[in-house]
Subunit: 387 residues, 2 copies
Amino acid sequence: MNTFQLYNPTKLVFGSGTVRQLGMLLKPYGKKILLVYGGGSIQKSGLYDEVLGHLHKNGATVHELAGIESNPRLTSVQAGIELCRREGIEFILAVGGGSVIDAAKAIAVGVPYEGDVWDFFVGKAQISEALPLGTILTLAATGSEMNGSSVVSHWEAKLKRAFSSIHAYPRFSILDPKLTFSVPRNQTVNGIVDIMSHVFEQYFSQTPDTPLQERYAESILQTVVENGELALADGENYEARANLLLCGTMALNGTMNPGMQSDWASHAIEHEISAIYDIAHGAGLSIVFPNWMRYVYTSRPDRFAQYAVRVWGIDPTGRSEEELALAGIDATRDYFRRIGAPSTLSEAGIGEEQLDRMAEEAVRYGPIGSFRKLEASDVREILRMCL
Amino acid sequence: MNTFQLYNPTKLVFGSGTVRQLGMLLKPYGKKILLVYGGGSIQKSGLYDEVLGHLHKNGATVHELAGIESNPRLTSVQAGIELCRREGIEFILAVGGGSVIDAAKAIAVGVPYEGDVWDFFVGKAQISEALPLGTILTLAATGSEMNGSSVVSHWEAKLKRAFSSIHAYPRFSILDPKLTFSVPRNQTVNGIVDIMSHVFEQYFSQTPDTPLQERYAESILQTVVENGELALADGENYEARANLLLCGTMALNGTMNPGMQSDWASHAIEHEISAIYDIAHGAGLSIVFPNWMRYVYTSRPDRFAQYAVRVWGIDPTGRSEEELALAGIDATRDYFRRIGAPSTLSEAGIGEEQLDRMAEEAVRYGPIGSFRKLEASDVREILRMCL
């Protein structure tokens, strides 16, 4: 186990009817609020009206930034920063999924910064302060509701980049599983893949002696696998939705894998795909991950064998470590297929035209990954396996 | 799963050599520091000198409160409060195990309160503020380093009571596994039992549909069982000590069982034993828990059967739920015996003289426990089974 710091100042408020606590949660902050959201789904569901009701009852002045894209764009973030400055916004409330929250975080850190907020994404500047923000989550997926990370796309430059800062943690996040009842099937599938991928990035690690962290990761994976299928069978299964929601948060709030080096190569590769093709993050991950696994498993077949046995219940009797490892990878791909996630780039209408560019761009700042370091040639090969 | 709030503002700094970060961690706070510790073990190990060195380099004025008891006493807490007021202390630094940290928390909440700090322990007053405190942990056990709870004994009245408050969370806790190398065998054993007991209190729950929380609990139990024996075999096994330390924190920082009702009846019973007899908390728990289990398992044999299979690896083939449940309880008792923890009150030199008094006192504020509600007669029976 490595040396680590675990510090997560987000207050998580979880359960049915918890949106009612919004007024109380906002009390310590100012009254000038920017409401950030995506498409019209929160209006259709009635959540928009409920939130505005609480805000007005609380005496808030509300400005709105709607239409955040599913791969949130720098231009939207910049518009939000402008709006905050012009209106003297004191608190940002993000209502939606990870994209909306990521955009809100980027706005929050951008407002007090004199330069271009993109500087934070490309390592040109350090974040030292932010407007306070809170979230109401409507989708089990990214974990952004309880961490300091944000991923934003620079659409013109075809770049998708991330930052992480202690200043960008939401002050509070409200998670009501019922708000995820209306999430359409394909987005539920993408969320399931996204959560599992976050676990994979941390679980396939070279850090030795991390028995608790490994079991925590396996616990989340098993729970997502079971409850993912239950939620897909019945979108209004409260417990299934609640379990997915909790798993999404716990997978990426720092408590699952303290002291373990993460990988994140598959995310870097997926970011290059969705930067160019604008496919859903979860769809990209379901294509990339099984192929990444197949490319790297020989670096630690023992971990992959353990994954097969503990997560997928594959009987180890009479099977070699390598056979188990491969069976676990196959089980992953089979599960993704079974829930309807894509497994090839061609299914997503993507050919080999941009493979070289994506491979080069993925390693722009040096090799990616820590489980196995990947150069451009490795990334190209993994992308080729994805075709 | 129940509705819940998860909020833990403690910054955990974990790993070898992390005491060196003390000066930096203290920066946001005042320079007048009360150092709270127990016996001479931190002087013997050199930790005392190291801590004082960092404090002085940081320009701090240090006052000391030494000699905190292993069941920390109200009189020590009151002396600490007096000292803080007299010297205008701005920050409390607890260096030691759970007892020292619990005393420091009680001092922290007592300083700004006009009445007697005992009021907080008996529910006569609500905590609304506290001096900031930080900790350097030297024992894997209580989890007090990352929560807001404190247990203190009113020795004259033979009472042991607890409070929990968001204001009592340490601002930071430093956990260096090497600081636990010198923990003697019996204290290591008590720590192992203490951690497992914290998990039991939360895992044996009537709350339905908590698959992730159950798996997390099982993860901690399995990891403690394995690493407990490794640490006992070689006290300087860094990884074993690190895994125990992490398990102790994760078992009681709120992340293991959000949305699950806890029980805590066994702790209440143990508190009555150690309030009168001053035995180590872990020793009391190793006596009480297997008997509590045997008394209540019929309330939910399925959970006990799951415990047997998943934690102890007991083969379910051909065994009934009840047989599995009982096998799991036996495995618990066997493990406690194997590591040298007591299993009967008589081993601790305790007879039946005070059983009635302990039973009455345990339910002074009403029935205890939620897995099964226990009246005085139930507690008396469990204590009788402990003889």
